[in-house]
Amino acid sequence: MNEPHHDSRFQRWFNRRGWIKITIATPYVWLILFFLLPFAIVLAMSFATRTPTAPPFSFGGDYPLLNTRTYHRLVEDSLYIRAYLTSIFNAVIATLMCLLIGYPMALGLTRVSKSWRNILLMLVILPFWTSFLLRVYAWMGLMGTNSWFNKLITSGYNYLVPAEDALRYIPMMNTNFAVVLVTVYSYLPFMILPLFANLEKLDFTLNEAAMDLGSRPSRVFLDVTLPQSVPGIIAGSMLVFIPASGELIIPSLVGSSSRPMIGRVISDEFASARDWPMASAVAVALLLLLVVPLMVYTYFDGKAHEKIKSSGGADA
């Protein structure tokens, strides 16, 4: 009566343990194919020599294998260092602003009724439904010297300063201010959403307990809510800081050309200067600049968690 086994070896392997291995392997394969491999190519390219060929680089010649010209230029030419500093400065300011604006919004989201929460969350995500470029162009319009927005800000400024310092308009376009403003606008949801996810999980009875023990609401926030939301703050800040520091479109459209950000430098090296090795070196340095601190943080954070776990497990 028993049917003979028709299952192939693959099917048997898949049903036993194979599917687990495949599930685990998929993201790794993805990472290797679309991150590690391209990164290896870029890294290799950064040590190549620039040539007037297509593609415009080659290995060998005077420098068999490693040509470190690009990295020498990176530290010697102040253009690059200034671009890195501008990028990081703008990204830090934008991240802080996002935190300052996003935190109260995320906290507010956890305190309103369920139906309101859904509506407000929708509104947070709604801007993503229009093209990012379109929204940046809208800001360019707003910041222009003749816009109602500029006039409003200018009249506010004129109201505050003595009459002889009054301005006809405030030059906003093509400044670092414009870059930070549009970056904050664009990346605010990336701060709000992880913060909201974190704050929503917090147990409100802890706030009540603190209040019961004599703390006023402001004190309760500092003692209970803020310390528990550190993971959300870190997650949100990473999500804003990392793309903001490598941002290309915003500084290209509204930023100052005399103070380029690093994304712009990479793009220019690739496209206009056709110096692919140099562009690769700038990109590699940016990645190291962003990833190394993150890895150090993750390492120490993981160690701290392990410590808690092992000391907690000792008496269990």
Partner: protein, 385 residues
């Protein structure tokens, strides 16, 4: 059988439960009502609690115990009524200005602080030096026997230890009133019994007034000096464990505390000490101790606790005896539970203490035996509703 001693006990109990003293009570809850929309969670509750009492709020799920407690702590605003503690009107004060602390059902320990920091948290708002504060924390750790765990975080200690940290944290500010919302619910049975006595011991040492919410009637009876039984937002009865158990004033209270047999009846005649009641289920009249406010001919309920019934094979020849047939019996060692069917088919529970050692096959009654049940008129409870 004389009725006089029983009546004397009753009078004592009644006077204890409605003790009227000249000075106002330490805690006064006056006509407090809480509505959530159109739903009334707490319905005109009036309650007086004396200093140093352990007072229990007992009732089924959703009857408004937590809501009442939260109004005392200041987390909910009463829709109507006022709350006084030590003569002060607390009704409009925020939680952080009340001399009240609460031990939360979930403990609500701060996960990012050590045990010692948790206990010290409430003290930073008190006017005291750092040395005094450390001293207080040390005393509290001592009181709940957690000195060795001071540096641990809440997730590094056991459930029972967490519960003691929560208690220590709530007591550290030396509140006038401590509220405990199902303090022992998360503990297993053995630890719970142990902790009940610890709680009583700590209350004894600190002299703090405790209000304990529980839905475990045994816990309420063990812990408290007095208790209130709640149902659907109302207080049904207030009194000592004995008075509530022995003298329930309504079918609800009689049925909620312990187990009980309830029959419908009609008053036949009212004497000085006993009232004759016709109970159709018994196929005759019985005598019960008179209670106030019952009229001749009124429809009433007759309630008898299983342990107040005596079971025998022969007719005891006393006033209240009924015949029945043993349908079921369970032997528990120290006592046995019989389920006896009356001629009407109604099943009566009888709890009989096995005071004498008996041999195998030597029980008072066996399956399908015909037996007599009898009870003292004093033990029968007459209920108006």
């Amino acid at each position: 059988m004389t009725d006089i001693p029983a009546i004397t006990i009753d009078a004592d109990l009644q006077s204890a439960s409605v003790k009227k003293s000249a000075e106002p009570s330490f805690i006064r809850i006056e006509g407090v009502t809480k509505k959530f929309g159109s739903f009334t969670a707490v319905n005109s509750v009036t309650l007086e609690i004396e200093k140093g009492e352990i007072f229990s709020l007992l009732g089924g799920s959703g009857c408004g115990k937590t809501t009442l407690l939260r109004m005392l702590a200041g987390f909910e605003e009463p829709t109507a009524g006022r709350i006084y503690i030590d003569g002060q009107d607390m009704t409009d004060l925020p939680p952080y200005e009340r001399p009240v602390n609460m031990m939360f059902q979930s403990y609500a320990l701060f996960p990012h602080m050590t045990v010692a920091k948790n206990i010290a948290y409430g003290l930073k708002h008190e006017r005291m030096t750092a040395a005094q504060r450390d001293d207080r924390v040390r005393n509290m750790l001592d009181l709940v026997q957690l000195t060795d765990f001071a540096a641990r975080k809440p997730h590094q200690i056991s459930g029972g230890q967490r519960q003691r940290v929560a208690l220590a944290r709530a007591l550290a500010r030396q509140p006038k009133l401590l509220l405990l919302d199902e303090p022992l619910a998360a503990l297993d049975k053995k630890l719970r019994e142990h902790t009940q006595f610890e709680l009583m011991d700590i209350q004894d040492k600190t002299g703090t007034t405790f209000i304990v919410v529980t839905h475990d009637q045994e816990e309420a009876m063990t812990l408290s000096s007095r208790l209130a039984v709640m149902d659907k937002g109302r207080i049904m009865q207030i009194g000592t464990a004995t008075s509530v158990y022995e003298y329930p004033q309504s079918r609800f209270v009689a049925g909620f505390i312990g187990s009980i047999n309830i029959f419908d009846g009609k008053v036949v005649s009212i004497g000085d000490t006993t009232t004759r009641v016709h109970v159709p289920e018994f196929g005759g009249d019985i005598e019960a101790r008179s209670v106030e406010g019952i009229e001749d001919g009124a429809q009433i309920s007759l309630a008898i606790r299983p342990e107040k019934l005596t079971i025998s094979r022969t007719n005891p020849q006393s006033a209240n005896s009924i015949r029945g047939i043993v349908r079921d019996l369970a032997y528990f060692g120290k006592d046995s539970l019989y389920r006896v069917a009356l001629p009407s088919g109604h099943i009566v529970s009888v709890n009989s203490v096995n005071a004498r050692r008996i041999g195998e096959n030597e029980r008072v009654a066996d399956w399908e035996d015909e037996v007599w049940l009898s009870f003292d008129p004093n033990s029968a409870i007459l209920l108006k509703d």
